[in-house]
Point group: C2
């Protein structure tokens, strides 16, 4: 790189021209080269654009393929689950993390088996004890096991709806697993009304067992309560997601808030954190909640000293993987695409209180409206794979150009209304006043 | 919100528990509520998480649908272009911006019409005067016009390859249009060797005309030269993209650099800026180049006081739309998906030296390897639509959940090699040492 010194291009002089002479401390007669061809590993001591500064300050590498928290996602259809020909009477969704025990993988999930498909949240008043409103109404928590992660055997109900008036009597959904001091804990959304009557309102309850095969004992109490009136999480504690950190239970959750009926969508979604010394509580909500400003369902895993999070679907920072070294202060680590919805990854060190998190390579997620037909509305579980693990180096997961077909793009086409607007706009250009 | 004062939840006390008491100036006996249910429009005077601070500091709205620089993209197949049944002998790619003149839209683009499909960059030594290496080798600049933006009539060659040794004798590609003081200027990549022999090396040349219908006079000189040896843009000045700002020509371009043959992909791509008082130069490269740290082809448009840019495909900030109020300091304005490649938008105020840019709603982009078959390698032009205009409010463009089908996801499946790795990893878990 010694050739650089020979260049006669004066950076200092140019900075004067561009009115940014204060950005350079060099003598104006010193020739300064343009940014080098080989990108320096360390932030160079020269004026840098705002964007190039981010290369050094915000990311572990400027190359996505060298960034440990960048990945593509690949999907595989699961074997072993029956959906009654996808007629809407059976749904499986919102899987827990996957754990490995007794020589097999375990996953828990929301399962609805009802005589008819859901009527829909907007018609929740028509829901009965056997007719569901939402896809996750009148559901129980089931579980399944697998030797290979692709073919699963449904083992039946783990946690049924408890009798009224216990929390969850209407539906128990969206569970996640904690292993703590040799015991197993399932946290779940505990509905006490059909979703859609007022919103999607619920707190979180918990059941526990000595074995992942159960039997499960419900605590029959609310373990993560809704916030007080006027607080961001007053209506919903969704997607409880426990990890172990710093000798405590760190449980992340999502809430829907800022409801403004005049807007579409009417609500925003963010994630909070609640911390406990004991799996049955009390949980203390973090004073800086919400700690993630976008996203939908919760998916997190220990990574190095900190925790990484999937931020999917909603909010300005959707389609990102974020990282918080202190488990609270989340920043964007990478921008990704085709993220799994409601992912429950296999997190080998979820409960080991690691200070050197390894990351993940796969898990179970779901597709909602899997039939692409609301008259057969149901969800299906799927497997996703990725490379977010420090133990794996899979270049096939690190490509950053998805060459999707023209046909795929044309399916994302203009509506008739949009086509009309376009025609109108072109007509405007032809008016004499618009001609230049 | 007066109820909030009644809450007994003490934020100050909690901050002490969490070791962050310095974050609060309130008396520890003062009850402090959690974050409010209705998100304050202005940044509230209370401790906020890093992520929620970004809501206020980094984005114009926390709701993507209210963010002027957030959009979905929709695609429509163009009528009027023949591709010889997609056999690889005709390609159209890298469209210019679209302009409106003489009662119709104009677009210029790279067009290759060769007796055979490209041999590929890795076999560039086999290229001849009639056998192309890359898809854009042995190309000329064609143009087409349209009354509605959907059906186009190809008008033929605008700028042909000039005779050797003029810049571009091997191929003229990836053009863009400038309208300046009543004249028209086409900037383009001027190849003097088959792409793939050493890389994708070229400078930028220019032709000019009194009418968008030509005839075009080539300046027959390099107008944006490659950087000096050792500089980031020493090999490639790609995708020249002129706009008018501050009474000058602001021409953005892309370069490939940091070539490290041991890596895949071997190069990184960023964008620079060159500024001129005269369309034929001289252009002065900005001393803070590169000004965009990711991306592939250049697509920009005036927006309010500043300029917005598509950052597609490559780099850590791919899949974003960025904004620079000063036309240099780019920051992420939104995270988007299914972005158009090599987009040439219709930018009504591209050349008006506006200080109040309106934005864009549509343009022409391309699909590479459109046949999804390298033996018929060619590219096709397509139309994209979006809502990045302050004159349009199209809620159908602002959705933030694309419910792509399970079948689509399963096409993004595991390779055989990946499946083998997964099997191996599960086997590892079954070893006695891995059992807990």
């Amino acid at each position: 790189m010694t050739n650089l010194l020979k260049l006669s291009f004066s950076l200092a002089a140019l900075l004067v021209v561009f009115g940014q002479s204060d950005a350079s401390s060099e003598d104006e007669n010193t020739p300064a080269p343009a940014f080098p061809y080989l990108v320096p590993d360390e932030k160079p001591d020269r004026p840098l654009s705002t964007a190039v500064q981010r290369n050094y300050d915000a990311y572990s590498s400027i190359r996505p393929e060298q960034n440990e928290l960048f990945t593509q996602f690949k999907y595989t259809k699961l074997k072993g689950f029956d959906y009654n020909d996808g007629d809407g009477t059976i749904t499986r969704r919102d899987p827990s993390k996957v754990i490995f025990a007794n020589g097999k993988y375990y996953v828990w999930y929301t399962c609805r088996k009802t005589p008819v498909k859901p009527v829909g949240m907007s018609r929740a008043a028509e829901a009965t004890d056997v007719i569901p409103s939402a896809d996750w109404d009148l559901a129980d928590i089931y579980y399944a096991t697998s030797k290979d992660g692709f073919t699963w055997q449904e083992q039946g109900v783990a946690v049924p709806r408890p009798p009224k008036p216990n929390p969850g009597w209407r539906s128990v959904t969206t569970t996640d697993i904690l292993v703590w001091e040799g015991k197993y804990y399932l946290y779940y959304q505990a509905f006490m009304e059909a979703s859609g009557l007022r919103g999607d309102y619920c707190p979180v309850a918990v059941s526990y067992a000595d074995s992942p095969d159960g039997p499960w004992t419900p605590a029959n109490k609310i373990v993560i309560p809704n916030g007080a009136e006027g607080e961001w999480d007053q209506h919903a504690i969704h997607d409880p997601y426990p990890l172990v950190h710093n000798g405590k239970i760190y449980l992340y959750y999502k809430s829907d808030f800022d409801e403004r009926p005049e807007l579409t969508p009417s609500k925003v979604r963010m994630h909070g954190l609640a911390i406990a010394d004991n799996p049955l509580g009390p949980f203390t909500k973090h004073p800086l909640n919400p700690v993630i400003n976008s996203g939908h369902e919760t998916t997190l895993f220990p990574f190095k000293k900190g925790v990484a999070a999937f931020v999917i679907r909603d909010g300005m920072e959707r389609n990102t993987i974020q990282y918080a070294e202190d488990w609270v202060s989340f920043k964007i680590a990478s921008i990704v695409e085709l993220m799994p919805n409601a992912a429950g990854p296999f997190v080998p060190d979820a409960f080991t209180d690691t200070e050197d998190g390894i990351g993940i390579t796969w898990g179970i997620s779901h597709f909602t409206n899997a039939a692409n037909d609301w008259n057969r509305n149901h969800s299906v579980l799927t497997r996703f794979d990725c490379d977010l693990s420090r133990n794996v180096d899979d270049p096939q997961m690190k490509g950053h150009h998805m060459n999707l077909t023209p046909e795929f793009h044309y399916k994302q086409g203009l509506s008739g209304k949009q086509r009309e607007r376009v025609t109108r706009e072109t007509a405007e250009l032809n008016k004499p006043s618009a001609q230049n």
